[in-house]
């Protein structure tokens, strides 16, 4: 394997006329790291990926692979391996020739091409499929051919553009585990783009949450979930309950609807309080700092968990996720039941 590189983006921007697709994007992806760019469509994540691959020229900023500035290099001189959303297999070539394409472009010797193509096919468990045409393969197999084709050239950086979005749900989980294992085993520096947060959380070493062309937060799954930098991140990663209001005294937050909530942090300026549904308990306060009465408004039984929406006396609705894991656990509550909800002070996240 050729040495994998780190990737550095230094204040990279891309504008299309008045539209700013990516704004002042700075990031470093370490060697062997799996980084995921996550955000809704139109957030600039794909543009960023395409700038790394060389298909989009940045309006400003530099892109470095290791210490090498590649900003002005065309895609075919960058040595990245890109897996496209629709796979983009060459329809007129066999699976073998698809995978061998990059090696042939590098004018390697016949035996080398042969050997490395077979290796790549074996890596994605498609040895024996070399003579098939792409259209004769299932979606999952085509996806693996695309991956093998990107890996065969031993790229410095592996780029994945929504690689799982065309697969059905079951296959998607299998393939993402497979991609993650391969990436670890080969130690590939990888940048993946997705709009699917569960996909992102399950594979990434680190995530970049983007919106409106800007980085909202960079961090590990834990950091994003437990300390979201803003409302966008808090609502995009997992689900959460928001309360608008203000700190009235240290460790006390008063919502606009009049709830007095004890919080663990002493911060003063924040105007928004977030509480994750799984941190809210149903029933007695049991020593929790916050406890309120309410009425069950909506119940959704999901097997491992049951989701409730409870309407509090203050008029606020709060989503609660209860684990169905105890024998003494509650029977699913009926809509209209009166119930108390409770949560600890440290369940409250203050968001600016």
């Amino acid at each position: 394997m050729s040495p994998v590189s780190s990737v550095r983006l230094q204040s990279v921007s891309k504008s299309y006329g008045d539209h700013r697709a990516v704004v002042d994007f700075s990031l470093e992806v370490a060697q062997g790291e799996f980084l995921v760019l996550l955000g809704p469509s139109g957030c600039g994540k794909t543009t960023t990926l395409r700038m790394i691959a060389g298909f989009v020229e940045p309006s400003a900023g530099r892109i470095l692979f290791g210490d090498r500035d590649v900003t002005d290099l065309p895609p075919y001189r960058r040595n990245t391996g890109l897996v496209f959303q629709g796979y983009a297999l060459f329809p007129h070539l066999t699976v073998f020739e698809n995978v061998a394409f990059g090696l042939r472009m590098r004018r390697l010797e016949r035996e080398v091409v042969e050997r490395r193509t077979q290796e790549a096919l074996r890596l994605v468990r498609l040895d024996g499929f070399g003579e098939r045409m792409p259209r004769q393969l299932s979606g999952g197999q085509q996806q693996r051919v695309a991956l093998a084709r990107a890996l065969a050239i031993e790229p410095e950086i592996l780029l994945l553009d929504e690689p799982l979005s065309n697969l059905d749900a079951k296959l998607r989980e299998e393939v993402r585990v497979e991609i993650r294992q391969l990436q670890r085993r080969l130690g590939l520096t990888t940048v993946m783009v997705t709009h699917d947060q569960s996909e992102a959380l399950s594979v990434a070493d680190r995530l970049v949450v983007m919106s409106g062309g800007e980085i909202q937060q960079i961090g590990t799954q834990r950091e994003l979930y437990n300390a979201p930098a803003n409302q966008f991140v808090a609502s995009f990663i997992g689900r959460t309950n928001f309360f608008a209001g203000a700190m009235t005294e240290p460790r006390r937050f008063r919502t606009e609807s009049g709830l007095e909530i004890s919080v663990a942090a002493a911060a003063a300026r924040e105007r928004l309080l977030a509480i994750r549904p799984e941190r809210v308990r149903l029933g007695s306060a049991n020593g929790a700092a916050n406890s309120f009465a309410g009425t069950v408004e909506f119940v959704s039984y999901l097997g491992a968990t049951t989701e409730y929406v409870i309407r509090l006396a203050s008029g606020d609705a709060i989503a609660v996720e209860a684990h169905n894991d105890r024998a003494d656990g509650l029977e699913p509550l009926a809509v209209g039941s009166q119930i108390r909800v409770a949560w600890d002070a440290d369940a409250c996240q203050l968001i600016s």
Partner: protein
């Protein structure tokens, strides 16, 4: 009441189906009847066309061998059509690439311009080309009027709308990501074109070649102005023959021409499914 409504609905559906079939049948008849009659006529025994035929014969076909203007015309037409086809592709492939792939500011205008030979009557193109070639010849001393070069040039002109249209439609249909994939794997623009784009649009190119051939082979209006003295293409030979005589010879010639073009289409269709492209 309900059953009466159901019967009415069934009748209406049936009526619609018959109407559709009748219309389709009429269209096919309009298109195919002339060809059918040409084929039939070519076997009539009587010299002066009349119905019903007095009998059938193959002598119009054997008589063709004795009239060299048809064989000569056929060879000239073949030569011109092949050259025009190649010329049409040489212009059509790059032109459609530019139209579809680049971000030229005047793309729409260029597109219309390239299609214009379809709109202008052939006889007008023929006349204007003739005068144009005379002017160029006067200015440069190149022998263009009445030369093969001038004739092929004119024919290339009328094949361009076909090649550009067919190839551009094909190009529109392919996923740009395929070309990006090639570049990502290390192919520069030229190699991407040669190894990926052209092979993928092959059906369009083959169809374009076939149509240019057919359009050129059957062209009369341009050739009338551009052939060199003493030389004829097949359509001109037919026209000249018709000025003096109307007998089944022409039908025999036409039958051979129809057979050749049909064979070319059938052969092409084995290669690429024409119905998918056109």
């Amino acid at each position: 009441m309900a059953s009466a409504a159901a019967v009415a609905s069934v009748l209406r559906k049936r009526w619609r189906r018959y109407a559709l079939r009748t219309a389709a049948g009429a269209c096919f008849a309009v298109m195919l009847l002339p060809i059918f009659f040409v084929c039939w006529l070519s076997f009539f025994k009587n010299e002066i066309l009349s119905f019903p035929p007095e009998g059938y014969t193959l002598r119009w076909f054997t008589a063709l061998w004795l009239q060299p203007q048809f064989a000569d015309g056929f060879l000239t037409s073949l030569e011109v059509a092949v050259l025009a086809m190649l010329g049409g592709l040489a212009v059509g492939v790059p032109a459609s690439l530019a139209l579809v792939r680049s971000e030229l500011p005047l793309r729409e205008a260029l597109n219309t311009l390239l299609l214009s030979p379809l709109v202008v009557p052939g006889i007008v193109i023929g006349t204007s080309l003739y005068f144009f070639l005379i002017d160029v010849e006067l200015a440069t001393d190149l022998p263009l009027t009445g030369s093969m070069v001038g004739l092929v040039f004119g024919h290339v002109l009328v094949t361009i709308p076909w090649t550009v249209r067919l190839i551009a439609v094909n190009l529109h249909g392919i996923d740009r990501a395929i070309e990006e994939a090639a570049m990502n794997l290390g192919a520069d623009r030229l190699r991407t074109l040669l190894k990926v784009t052209l092979p993928v649009i092959r059906p369009g190119v083959v169809a374009a070649a076939l149509f240019s051939f057919v359009v050129s082979f059957g062209n009369l209006e341009l050739s009338l102005f551009l052939v060199s003295p003493g030389e004829t293409t097949l359509p001109i030979a037919i026209l000249q023959y018709l000025e003096w005589k109307i007998d089944p010879t022409i039908a025999a010639v036409s039958l051979i021409q129809i057979a050749i073009i049909a064979a070319a289409m059938a052969a092409t269709n084995r290669f690429v499914r024409l119905s998918q492209v056109v």
